[in-house]
């Protein structure tokens, strides 16, 4: 029996390891290809025969990457932080405060999730254009400041596991709801909050469709749009190393953040799935 189990374990391990290669191969191929000279892309072999850094020099010369990264950070850090606290507040209210019509309000909010972005992007474009925002950064910032409905949903679930007596006790001690939120609820839900905001952050870092529509001034383009343009241009004359250098520039920051937060991220995804 034990021997049979050992063999089974070995087979499973090999199977999972093979899958891991498939999962990581595109990234490895991307990194090595980005260091190849253009003429070498049809040669066999994963590793470059000569290491050529010119694609990176080219991309840094050609597009304002620093500006692009700063724009992306501006679109994904402050709005997500503000939006996270707004969402946490709403989740707290839905879970722990008895106010009139809260179930209906919650259902209305939730129904918003079922409406796909492409169905509302044309009027959003018109609204932003009406307020002269298409030349600036605001279309990528404003909607996030009002919170994230999915996050409200998940945090509300999380808060259902916090006993009501905690809130009641604080009320008797004379705390108002904002103090309860700030002093008791926020510290309690910090792990969930951090994990969800990291996921949201990654989502908005990778956003592409919305900025192609809403950002009409090249200065304000996020790095995804800049790199996509760069790559499309070099796809025409099949300068593959330059395209891959572009992809590397996009992926490295996200991979670093993932490397730091991977434990949180995966645990949070698992957690939300169990508590549904």
């Amino acid at each position: 029996m034990s021997r049979r189990k050992k063999i089974a374990d070995a087979v499973v391990f090999v199977f999972l390891a093979f899958g891991s290669v498939i999962m990581l191969y595109p990234f490895i191929w991307m990194i090595f290809t980005s260091f190849k000279p253009k003429m070498h892309i049809y040669l066999a072999g994963l590793l470059p025969r000569t290491w050529d850094f010119s694609s990176y020099i080219q991309i840094w010369d050609e597009i304002p990457l620093v500006r692009g990264f700063l724009n992306t950070i501006l679109y994904s850090v402050p709005p997500v932080i503000v939006g996270t606290f707004v969402s946490a507040g709403a989740a707290f209210a839905f879970a722990k405060i008895n106010f009139k019509g809260k179930n209906i309000i919650f259902l209305i909010l939730l129904s918003g999730v079922m409406i796909p972005f492409p169905s509302i992007m044309i009027p959003q474009f018109v609204l932003f254009s009406r307020f002269n925002m298409l030349q600036g950064p605001w279309p990528m910032i404003l909607p996030k400041l009002t919170g994230n409905v999915l996050m409200i949903f998940f945090l509300r679930q999380y808060l259902n596991y916090v006993p009501d007596s905690v809130v009641e006790a604080a009320k008797i001690d004379g705390c108002n709801y904002f103090e309860i939120y700030r002093r008791i609820i926020l510290p309690l839900i910090t792990p969930a909050l951090a994990a969800h905001s990291v996921l949201w952050f990654i989502g908005s870092w990778n956003d592409y469709l919305a900025p192609t529509i809403f950002i009409k001034n090249e200065k304000w383009q996020p790095v995804t749009v800049m790199v996509a343009k760069f790559n499309e241009q070099y796809a025409i004359n099949t300068h593959v190393p330059r395209m891959m250098a572009g992809s590397v520039m996009l992926l490295v920051p996200v991979l670093v953040i993932y490397g730091i937060f991977q434990k949180w991220i995966i645990e949070s995804v698992m957690f939300t799935s169990v508590k549904e």
Binding site: N98, Q124, V126, N176, N206, Y208, S247
Partner: protein, 300 residues
């Protein structure tokens, strides 16, 4: 005493509304008002760039045009074709989750590896897949020839294969997420079920089919709903992998149709009609899934 209670009640209401006010404003301004505008605009001949209020009312014209446009049907067919990836992804991730959840060594390392594609940028990944699937020097066909496949498919240029590039990419990118969800679901299943099955002499596969899979239904349900919502909005992958609509419009999707008509040809009225139909499809499918799930739960 009674008065004091109602005093608290008032403050409960005020604080409650205060906390939910901002998300509610967000919903109204960024979702509900635009939604109404989309539906209204779909009945007008509104050219983008003009004020929507001055647009001419044309009744059902846009819808009639749309239903008579072969490209629209093509885009809808492609969009649904891509959803083949959903069951493929579910089966694969269920297998991988089961294998990872049996106390395998390095299980946590595997989880991190399989989840990596999920967090990466679709833009970056699209260009990688575009090049890996090239018939001319692409790695995929090099490997296929190496394992003895004589004529590997022309992934990028033959309409029968182009959609599969997108599907393979979407499955590869989404697999980690469903694996993690399934593992979490499996860890939530009480051990007593398995012990009882063991006493009854049930085999591994029988237990998996009769206990694990049914008890994971809520996870499967969630993944199907999010898969459909995401799949219906497919835009970036076909646009960037195929630098356009693909050979014979084979990778063209409904959102590309909507985008091009609105933002390239300025036919915002027609675009709004496509946007309305897309919204209705997503809404109906999701609502139907929720209904079925609710009915199943009541039956249990």
């Amino acid at each position: 005493m009674k008065r004091k209670k109602s005093y608290f009640h008032v403050w409960d209401n005020i604080w409650g509304y205060a906390f939910v006010l901002i998300p509610l404003i967000g919903l109204v301004v960024f979702v509900l008002i635009p939604l109404c505008m989309t539906v209204y605009a779909s009945f007008t001949s509104w050219p983008l760039g003009q004020s929507i209020t001055s647009a001419k009312w044309v009744g059902l014209d846009n819808y009639i045009t749309m239903f008579n446009t072969p490209l629209f049907w093509k885009s809808l067919g492609n969009t649904f074709f891509y959803m083949i990836g959903i069951p493929i992804g579910l089966v694969l991730s269920l297998i991988y989750a089961a294998l990872m959840n049996r106390g395998t060594r390095y299980e946590k390392v595997f989880r991190v590896i399989y989840y990596t594609p999920v967090i990466t940028s679709t833009v970056a990944v699209s260009f990688i897949f575009q090049r890996m699937f090239m018939s001319d020097g692409g790695v995929i066909n090099t490997y296929l020839s190496a394992i003895g496949i004589k004529n590997p498919p022309n992934w990028m240029s033959h309409p029968a294969y182009t959609k599969w590039v997108i599907i393979i990419m979407a499955v590869w990118k989404g697999l980690g997420n469903s694996i993690i969800m399934y593992i979490a679901g499996m860890q939530g299943i009480s051990k007593t079920y398995y012990e009882a099955a063991k006493i009854d002499g049930a085999g591994w596969f029988y237990t998996f089919r009769k206990i694990t899979v049914p008890l994971l239904m809520p996870v499967t349900f969630y993944l199907v709903v999010t898969g459909i919502i995401g799949g219906a909005q497919m835009y970036v992958e076909p646009r960037l992998v195929f630098a356009g609509n693909g050979p014979a419009n084979s990778t063209f999707t409904t959102v590309i149709h909507l985008y091009d008509n609105t933002f390239r040809y300025s036919k915002a009225g027609y675009g709004s009609a496509v946007a309305t139909v897309l919204g209705v499809i997503v809404f109906v499918i999701t609502a139907f899934q929720f209904y079925m799930n609710g009915r199943r739960e009541r039956n249990e």
